[in-house]
């Protein structure tokens, strides 16, 4: 606490859970965009991670509302947002946008994995039951039906991109439209959130794909990761430029709120915002990815660079979420002081819960993979692993 803060501002009301929520939806939106690169824009080299990215988008999407539920004062009333949505509120859109997007991703996945699920349904055990229920007990597939599915998938992938932007842009809008908060109130917030979402989505796929390949001893598809690396570089340049542009434009205008925001940046957020978010976790990945895109390193070197850059960008986006969500609440609405916030470890909205919420989707992704393989067979070549699915997969749309 420093200076004068209004008496009800002693504590920060949106905690680390609300940092996690846009982070997770960002991963969803980004991963979906990657899958659409293949399914809609025909980037063939993305094929090894196309299905994986959609699976990742789906499991993260399932868990996106969990931090919100943990945060709500009355989680049992959560459905009020769909029962009586007040459409003058940006937040009221959440229930319907989220549900529509979840349905869309689920349906796209349903079509993409139909062949795999039919194969599963022909097998035995627990997964057979799951597959039959998931398939609505229709086990028929033919060349004609596959062609139909392919058209539907393309349509859904196309529809999904604006939906992903809507879902994530809405989160940015949620913050950007709060006129009471000078650190949030900018129309750029909406755009920044979308681009940083794409960055985090691509980064988590590179990170996770390389990790799985390494653990299983698969050969990493160089064309795929190099292409992803270039996309990552491009999107991170846009995202970071916008983030810098936002703060520079406030600073240049020198309006009333800059006095307190300058103190916020120079003092309260200096380490997490200037040092970490920009100097370390933006500049270093920018250089690494730039080098990797411009020079032809050996595969092992290139992969290491990419992996490190991806991890750093994952952290960068998390830092950006933190600096926006928490940073904005540190400024008192009196413009005269700052409150402070540090999450506890074992409290309800603490770090332990955050880590658990963030980890579950990865476990679920593994289960998903046990059900139907998330990677095409050629991506799993050279496997020594136990993770190899029982049923070999063949065709991929």
């Amino acid at each position: 606490m420093e200076g004068f803060v209004f008496p009800n501002e002693q504590s920060v009301v949106w905690t680390v859970m609300i940092v996690l929520y846009p982070y997770i939806t960002g991963l969803v939106a980004g991963a979906f965009v990657v899958s659409s690169l293949y399914h809609l824009f025909g980037r063939e080299e993305i094929r090894p991670v196309a299905r994986f990215s959609l699976g990742a988008a789906f499991v993260f999407l399932l868990f996106a509302p969990l931090p919100l539920l943990v945060h709500l004062g009355h989680p049992e009333r959560a459905f009020n947002i769909m029962i009586t949505p007040n459409f003058s509120s940006a937040m009221a859109g959440f229930g319907y946008i989220y549900t529509a997007y979840l349905l869309l991703v689920a349906i796209e996945i349903w079509f993409i994995f139909r062949d795999e699920m039919i194969r599963r349904a022909g097998g035995g055990g627990f997964w057979r039951l799951v597959a039959r229920v998931a398939l609505l007990n229709d086990l028929r597939a033919s060349e004609a039906s596959r062609a139909t599915d392919h058209r539907i998938i393309r349509f859904l992938a196309g529809l999904g991109i604006p939906m992903a932007c809507l879902l994530h842009g809405y989160v940015g809008f949620l913050f950007g439209s709060i006129k009471a908060n000078p650190w949030w109130s900018t129309p750029l917030m909406f755009v920044i959130f979308i681009f940083s979402a794409i960055v985090s989505g691509i980064a988590v796929l590179i990170f996770h794909y390389m990790l799985i390949a390494r653990l299983n001893g698969w050969k990493i598809d160089q064309a795929c990761v190099r292409s992803l690396g270039r996309f990552l570089w491009g999107f991170m340049i846009i995202a970071v430029s916008l983030e810098v542009l936002e703060v520079v434009s406030i600073a240049y205008k020198q309006s009333e709120e800059w006095e307190i925001l300058a103190r916020l940046i120079e003092d309260r957020l200096f380490f997490s915002y200037i040092v970490l978010q920009f100097l370390v976790f933006s500049l270093v990945p920018f250089l690494l990815l730039g080098l990797n895109a411009l020079f032809r390193f050996r595969d092992a070197v290139s992969n290491t660079i990419l992996w490190i850059a991806s991890v750093m960008l994952l952290i960068q986006v998390l830092l950006m979420r933190w600096n926006v969500v928490i940073g904005g609440q540190l400024v008192s609405k009196s413009y005269r002081g700052f409150t402070s916030y540090m999450p506890g470890v074992f409290e309800r909205e603490g770090l332990a819960v955050a880590v658990v919420i963030f980890t579950i989707p990865f476990g679920l992704l593994y289960l998903f993979h046990r059900f139907v393989p998330l990677f095409p067979p050629e991506a799993m070549r050279g496997a020594k692993s136990v993770e190899r699915p029982v049923v070999p997969s063949t065709e991929l749309h």
């Binding site: 949106w14 003058s88 609405k333």
Partner: protein, 260 residues
């Protein structure tokens, strides 16, 4: 689905469910006229016709002596949890360098025990400013409530529906005056209710009642004989953060530039 029930009230409810199902996503418009009665009876019954009132508040900062009676009364009247405030009194002390130092009296006694600045600071001026919910005409908090739990009554009071609020705290973020908080006991958004349980039975809000110097005033803007209107017509007043377009109904007489 079953046959419509016999009881008229039940049938009305059943019909409403059907119609609202039918409304689907477009239900916003059909909520109000789905009841068979034309216009619903006012909530106060015969004793209180809310169409005759439009409540407003005024604070004369010159008169405030910073005694904290309002804060103590509000806490007692509304059972406000310790550490949170539906109303509070800020003290401004401007030093020789024209720097304003602001603080509030906290705790159960809500009493200022000493001057904020030492005598050596060369105090230029100092004064008190009471704060409370501004009951804005264009209230951001009720705009951003995702479930319609924050709303404005027809008589101009911004309230929270304790049974419907989900506790998302979006309104807490959106209120430019920081008058809202999440109640640690009920876990819903909490704020000044303009003592709605008092003004609707003809009593003044607790803070107005106990103010020893009449620094706090309230009145009905629909009544031309109302004393508050006379004051607002006679005196010059200012609003808090008027540039945000919230149109507060809490009028400040003698407000200093330092106050936000």
């Amino acid at each position: 689905m079953s046959v419509p029930p016999d009881d008229p009230a039940d049938r009305r409810r059943f019909l409403r469910v059907v119609v609202q199902s039918a409304g689907g996503f477009f239900f916003v418009g059909c909520l109000a006229d789905s009841e068979d009665a034309g216009s619903p009876a006012p909530p106060g019954g015969a004793a209180y016709d809310w169409d005759k009132f439009y409540w407003a508040y005024a604070v004369d900062t010159d008169r405030c002596i910073g005694c904290g009676s309002c804060m103590r009364a509000c806490r007692a009247e509304n059972d406000v949890p310790e550490g949170f405030y539906r109303t509070w009194v800020e003290r401004f002390e401007v030093d020789a360098a024209e720097e304003a130092h602001v603080d509030i009296a906290t705790g159960r006694s809500a009493s200022f025990d000493r001057d904020a600045l030492p005598p050596t600071a060369g105090r230029r001026k100092s004064f008190f400013v009471p704060k409370l919910c501004n009951h804005c005409k264009n209230s951001v908090c009720s705009q951003v409530c995702p479930v319609g739990a924050s709303y404005q009554t027809r008589d101009g009071v911004v309230l929270v529906d304790a049974q419907h609020c989900v506790g998302c705290a979006y309104c807490v973020q959106a209120c430019p005056y920081a008058t809202r908080f999440i109640n640690p006991r009920s876990h819903i958004a909490d704020k000044c209710t303009f003592c709605y349980h008092r003004i609707t039975v003809g009593l003044p809000p607790a803070c107005v009642l106990v103010c020893p110097t009449k620094a706090r005033m309230y009145g009905n803007l629909k009544d031309r004989q109302d004393e508050l209107q006379a004051i607002l017509h006679r005196r010059r007043y200012m609003l808090l953060k008027p540039e945000l377009g919230t149109n507060p109904k809490c009028y400040y007489l003698g407000l200093d530039l330092e106050v936000v």
